[in-house]
Symmetry: C2
Subunit: 488 residues, 2 copies
Amino acid sequence: MVALTAEKQDRKLLSRIAAGDGHGENSAYFDGWKAYEENSFHPIDRPDGVIQMGLAENQLCGDLMRKWVLEHPEASICTPEGVDQFSDIAIFQDYHGLPEFRQAVAKFMEKTRNNKVKFDPDRIVMSGGATGAHETVAFCLANPGDGFLVPTPYYPGFDRDLRWRTGVNLVPVTCHSSNGFKITVEDLEAAYENANIPVKGLLITNPSNPLGTTLDRDCLKSLVNFTNDKGIHLIADEIYAATTFGQSEFISVAEVIEEIPDCNRDLIHIVYSLSKDMGLPGLRVGIIYSYNNRVVNIARKMSSFGLVSTQTQHLIANMLSDEDFVDQFLRESKLRLAARHAELTIGLDGLGIGWLKAGAGLFIWMDLRNLLKTATFESETELWRVIVHKVKLNVSPGGSCHCHEPGWFRVCFANMDHKTMETALERIKVFTSQLEEESLNRTKPMAKKKKCWQSSLRLSFKDTRRFEDGFFSPHSPVSPSPLLRAQT
Amino acid sequence: MVALTAEKQDRKLLSRIAAGDGHGENSAYFDGWKAYEENSFHPIDRPDGVIQMGLAENQLCGDLMRKWVLEHPEASICTPEGVDQFSDIAIFQDYHGLPEFRQAVAKFMEKTRNNKVKFDPDRIVMSGGATGAHETVAFCLANPGDGFLVPTPYYPGFDRDLRWRTGVNLVPVTCHSSNGFKITVEDLEAAYENANIPVKGLLITNPSNPLGTTLDRDCLKSLVNFTNDKGIHLIADEIYAATTFGQSEFISVAEVIEEIPDCNRDLIHIVYSLSKDMGLPGLRVGIIYSYNNRVVNIARKMSSFGLVSTQTQHLIANMLSDEDFVDQFLRESKLRLAARHAELTIGLDGLGIGWLKAGAGLFIWMDLRNLLKTATFESETELWRVIVHKVKLNVSPGGSCHCHEPGWFRVCFANMDHKTMETALERIKVFTSQLEEESLNRTKPMAKKKKCWQSSLRLSFKDTRRFEDGFFSPHSPVSPSPLLRAQT
C-alpha cells in the first residue's frame, strides 16, 4: 500500500520518464550484473562467487597502456613534464574539443579501418561514450514516436540509449539462426512494411554485438542501398572496428559508400568509441562521425551535455598521435583476443557446446538451445537462472538481446585473466557432467531425452560451423602471444 | 533558393530539434563569443583584439592547482606513483562513480557551504557538467510542455540546458531593478498564475548568474515555502557556492530546509559543479544532489549519457580529499576574487559607471541604462554592438539574459590576468571620454542631452548602491593578496 502510494506520488510529481521503467534495467541483462555485484568472484577471497561474463570489456592489453603512459609523462597534465599545460587544459570547454584530439581520433579511426578510408577531423563530434553518442544521434534524426529498424539480436543497452529520453521506438528486424543471423533485405522490407510508425533509419552494429560477426561487403552495400532507396538513415555502430581477429575481416560503412555511385551521404552516420578497441570505457570517449553537415553541427551543440573531460582529451590526443604505439597496440590486441577467444571456444567445443562462428567483439554467441526444456523464453530464463545462480557465471540470455529464438547466450571473454577463464570453463564442465549424470539416473524416457540432447548439441555445433568459413579448427593449438602469457 | 531547399530537406530528414533553432545559439550572448573567437585579444600578437568578458571562468588560482598536482603525483594514473591504478581506473564505468569520488565531492560541498550542512555521498549523482545536470533534472521532473519558473535575468544557457531536448518551457518571473532584482513571492505568484501550462518547479541560481547577488535567509525560506505550498519542485543551482567574497554571505537551500518544519524534501534539488568554485570547467564535473530518492535513482541511470571520465574522478577524489589544500584554496580564491572584483568596480566607479552591488560570481551586473538612446532592447543591442566591435570588449547584454529592463550588461572579470583587466578598463575610459567629447561637439540640444546623461550615470550608480549594504567603498584601497600579485 505504501509502495503504491509512493508510486502514485512519483507519477504526479515527476516526469513520465522518471515515473516509468523505460530505462530497461529490469532485464536479465542487468539482473545478471546485480547477481555478480552481490557476490563477485575472487580467486582467493570469494572463489565461489559469480564470474562476470556479461561485461564486454577488454582488459587484455592494460600492460601496454601502462607502459606507454610511463614512457610519455608529457602526455599527462599531472606530471612535471606536462603540468605547464594544466590550467590551459583544465579550463578548455569548447564543444569542438581540442583540435589535436579530433585529429588524433580521426587518424585512429582510419587505422582501425585498415587505412582504407579518410576521416575528416572537422566531422568528429565527441560525446559521453557510445551511450551518449547514440542518444545524440537519435535526438538529431527522429521525433518522439518515430522508429529505427534494428536487426535482432541487438545490444540490450540500445533500449536505453536510443529510446528512453528521446521517445523514439526501436523496430526489431527478425534475423534467424538458419542463416547465421544475417541481415537480409527481405527481413528489412518486412519490418519496414509492418512498422506502423514513421521509420527514420536503420541501426546496425558492425562488428555485431552480441553475435561477434562482421558484415561482408555485399551485405553492407545492400544495407546502404536499402536505406538510400527508402530515404532513411543508416547508423553504423562500429565500436568494435579493431576488435577483430583471426580471419575475420571488418569493413566499415565508410569504405562501402565510396563504392556506391550517387550514394546519399547525408543519410550515413557512424558511432565510435575508445571503450572497446582501446579498452578504456571509464574515460568515456564516444564519437559521432556524420556525413551530414547539419547533423555534425547539431550533434556538436548537443555534445555540451556530455563532453569528454579535457584531461582525458589531452591524454588521448597524445596517445593516439603516437602511431608506432597504436600500430603495435592494435596488432598485439588482436593476437591476445584471438588467443583468448580460442581458449574459450576450444573449451566449449570439447564439451560439445555450440557457438556461432565469428571472430570479432569481446564475446561469443553460445548455443544452448538443446538444453532448454521447451523452446520458449521461459525455459531460457530458467536455464539462465541456473547458470547465474548455480553455475555462477553471469552470461546474458538471448531474450535480453531481443533474440527471436530462445536458447542463445552472450558470453564475454576479455574482461578476466587466464586463470578466471579456466575456472569458468571448469564450471561449465562440471555443469554439463551433472546434467549428464542426472539424465542417466532418471527413468528411461528421460535418459532417451538426454541422449537426444547430447547428439543434438553436437549437431548444433556442426550447424553453427556452417554459417561462416571456419577460421579456428575447434581443436587447433592456438598459442597465446608471449606478452599474453607474461601477463596472465 | 538553395538554402531554402536544404532547410526543407533538413525538416524532412531530421528531427524537429535538429531542424529547429531551439539551441538558442542565435543570441547576442553567443554572438559575442564568436566576435571574440574571430579576433581574440593578445597583449603582443593582437593588442587590438576583442577582450573576452563574456565568459564566467575562474582563472585566478591555477597556480595553486598546479602546485598541488606536482606535489601529489599519486593522485594521477599517469605518473610512476599512480600508474598501478591505470587499468582499474580506466575500465571503471559504473554510473555510481568511484566511491571515493562521491565521498570527496560530498565533503567539498559541505565545505563550500561553510560546514553548516551534511551531504550524503549516496545522493551525489554525477553528470557532464552543470549543463548535463540541469538537463537531467528537467528530464526527471517535467514532461514536454510543462514549465519551470525562472526569475529574470537568468543565465542564457538555461534555454539550451533545460528546454532544448526535453521540450520543457521556462516561464520568466519578472524581477525589477527597483529592488535590486530581488525575487518576491508576489512576482512568483503572478508568473505562476499567468502561466498557461502546468508549472512543475522553480529554478533559481544562488549565487545569482548574472546578478552576482546571493539570496538571504528570508528570501530562501519564502521560496521553499512557496514551492512547497504549490507542490512544485525547487531546483537550486549553487555552482557559485564558494565564489563569494567580501561581506557577501552564501546560504545554501540545504541549510534553510533544516529550519523549516515539515518541509517536503522530495521537492528539493541542488545542481552543483567544480567548474566555477575550483575553476575546472574542462573536466566536466557536474553534480545533482536531490533529496528525492526516486530522482537520485533515475538521475543516476541518466548519468550514463554523460559520466565524468574516471581519470578525472580519480584526480578529483584525491584533490578534494586533501582538506588542508581545499581550505587554503578556497580561502585564497576568495581573496583573489575580491581583489579582482574591486579592481574592476573601482575602475567603473571612477568613470561614473554603475553596477549592481554584489559580491559573488565571476561577473558584475553593469548598469548602462543611461547610455541608451531609448529605453528599448533595440538600443541595448545597438550599444552592445559598439561595445563588442568598437570598444572590443565582449560583454553580455541583459536582453540575452531575459532581463526585463534594457541597459544592463554582464561583465566577467576572473578569466583574464591583471594586465588585460587594465587594458579593458582603459578601453572603457577612452570610450566614455569619446562619448563626452562627441556630446560637447554637438549642437546645444545634444549637449544638453549629454549633460543629462552624465548626471544620470552618477545617479544610476547611487541607485544601485542602495540595493544592498555596500561592502566595498567605491574608492577604498583593496589590495590584491600577495599571491595574486605574484601571479599577475
